[in-house]
Amino acid sequence: MSSGKKIGIGIIGIIVVIGIAYGVLGTDSDTNPDNTTKVPSTVEESSGLSGEVTIGLILPLTGDLATHGEENWEGSKFGVVEFNKHLEEIGAPWHLKMVSEDSATSPVIALEKLSSLNAKGISIVVGPETSSNIRNIKGYSDSNNMLLVSCCSSAPALAIPNDSVFRLVPDDSNQGAALGKLIQHEEIKVLIPVWRGDTWGDGLQEAASNSFTERGGQVDEGIRYNPESPEFSASTSLLAEKVQEYVDEYGKENVGVLFLGFAEILQFTQSAAEHEVLDDVRWFGPGANTKEHKLIDDPIGLEFSTNVQFTTVQVAASKNPTYEKVQAHLIKTLGKTPNTFVHSSYDAVWIIGLAMLETQSSDVSIIKEAIPGIAESYSGAIGSTKLNAAGDLAQANYEVWGIRGGEWIKLGQYTQSDDSISLS
């Protein structure tokens, strides 16, 4: 075969494999020893539970959200430990076992893991974490009579009644309202959104932009970036051009940037720090970036976020004994202050467990029916876990956080009922 033909064959192969590799970015580093556990045969459906009752967990232990994933994993593991203590105290003849899987922050791998859990006979799953993951696996979950309880997915597009997904966070139409109110309160006239091009980013951007527009603000078309991009120089250059135009017209104190992303915020701010004008305006962010340690641990990230008075909102967790216990355990385990979603991860296990305890069943249909009632009466680490008609957290108050003086501090609170914000 001539070298020309060989090159041709090689190149065609390259294109095919690149296409496949693009869809399957990420890896499955199966670091959890639990996943070899066999599904116990001692589960007795509808006739009382005994022995080991197994639930699944799918979280991003690697990939873009690995930091969050690890925190939430610890939250759920602690939930299992505490719930089993509770079962022991009341003399229940069964205990919970959790089989953990890594989604690698990839929707494709999340689906693979869900079908793997299903094949093992595990139909009730804590997670996954992101809306993109849920969107990709929801069809499978619905049609295979499975149940997902997510700690963190908040895309408004997934607020669907009577599906197989419960979410222990309010959907982002609420976070959008909180962000709109906060940005208006800070006297910003023009807002430029910059967001991850995925289900979560698109949904929250739309909600926040609509909220700010309804409050009389002006919103630019913004920049939707590819979250898989290895660097963001083109995005920050374009953003600088846009900000400069608005600063020239409205003054720097009236222009704001709303960044809606995950851990890539550090890379983005490092690139943004090269543009002087981006340093001159206020920046706002979502719950996903609240208490992001990378921003304050990195010298450029810290200087930039301090200069722009980076301010975020995140779901308010009511301080209660359970919250304090979970918080103390995770600070000790992780060596840092965790994100608020760890409390939802803890509560997700408890709500599933309590539904099993009440119904004495692990049957998905029975548990699904019981969860809204259980969630309404249970007061967990996040406080009230009452769900709305779509199966998402009903209470939607938000805390306002910001980087000030080199650290994350709580600045105030947004109250949904009267759409008010109070900052200290």
């Binding site: 090159i7 090689g10 890896t27 580093s29 091009g197 991009s229 010298p299």
Partner: protein, 308 residues
């Protein structure tokens, strides 16, 4: 007019892509196998730089020689223990290509384990990290802006001298052009191939150490970069070191400056489609110049242009 930092971003990206493309081309020239694990050799360099900076407390640039050695050795291991036995057994090019893909998955898994070990042992962030803050300031610019293109220039000159002026370089050219004939005249073809893989992997390691100063480090960085690296090598003709340099610079500058220009002209929505640029490069190259930049008869084109 104020200086737009995107130009320095473009220089860095293009330089690193050229460096990666040289390595990929070097390994392709010898074994004729497109190596899908190549970008992960660079990821090794990224993690070496993380350890050098955060664990040893040294400047990230110290990682360059260490990364060269480690990534080079890993590349030689891939060639010696996977590709060479496959070639000996008469495995097709497609099977060898899939073998490199499998090796890449193993490497990514190993990098994930390394990242977990680093975070657990040293309590430092080992995913989505960046060492940009630890670069050295040089006349108001990050040193990487100077070092990246200079590294390319030094390596290009060194390779040129090695290939044209040394006995080993001549042996390498002979072995890659006709290995059977080279073997009969006493050239140790296996040694030549081994050295090519050592250099190819080593160059990727150097690129990785430098990438840590500009990109977000993560075990999955390799798969994100592989389309750009292949686009650069294909644009360069896949069989020419000089073509690889030109291809890397062309694809790198286009990815950064082209995306920025198009987004400025046609709308910010184009930003999200940046990953398409390398794929477009591959398709266009295949249609218009299957042998890449190195295969174009430039003098004929010039004559044609002057007649027009």
């Amino acid at each position: 007019m104020a200086y737009d930092p995107i130009f320095s971003d473009a220089i860095i990206f293009a330089s690193l892509l050229a460096l990666l493309s040289i390595g990929l081309t070097l390994t392709y020239i010898t074994t004729r196998v497109p190596n899908f694990a190549h970008a992960s050799f660079a990821t090794i360099g990224v993690y070496v730089a993380l350890i050098v900076t955060h664990v040893w407390g040294l400047a990230p640039y110290i990682a360059i020689p260490i990364s060269f050695v480690i990534s080079g050795i890993v590349a030689v291991l891939l060639y010696t223990f996977i590709l060479k036995p496959l070639i000996r057994k008469g495995a097709s090019q497609a099977i060898q290509m899939i073998a490199t893909l499998a090796f890449d998955l193993v490497m990514i898994a190993m990098l994930n384990i390394t990242a977990d070990y680093i975070v657990k042992t040293y309590k430092i962030t080992s995913r989505e990290f960046s060492l940009r803050s630890y670069d050295i300031d040089f006349m108001g610019l990050p040193l990487i802006v100077i070092v990246a293109p200079i590294t390319i220039a030094i390596l290009a000159i060194t390779l040129h001298i090695m290939l044209r002026k040394t006995k080993f370089g001549i042996a390498m050219r002979a072995a890659t052009e006709n290995s059977d004939l080279a073997g009969t005249v006493g050239i140790n073809v296996k040694l030549v191939y081994g050295v090519s893989w050592l250099l190819g992997g080593g160059f990727a390691g150097i690129a990785g150490a430098l990438m840590s100063l500009w990109f977000q480090g993560d075990p999955n960085l390799g798969p994100q970069l592989i389309p750009s690296i292949f686009a650069a090598s294909i644009a360069g003709g896949f069989l020419s070191i000089y073509g690889a340099i030109a291809g890397g610079i062309l694809v790198g500058l286009t990815e950064v400056l082209g995306t920025r220009f198009l987004a400025g002209e046609f709308g910010a929505w184009l930003i999200a489609y940046r990953p398409l640029i390398p794929l477009i490069f591959i398709v266009v190259t295949l249609f218009l110049a299957p042998k890449g930049l190195a295969g174009i008869n430039w003098s004929k084109l010039r004559r044609h242009g002057s007649r027009i």
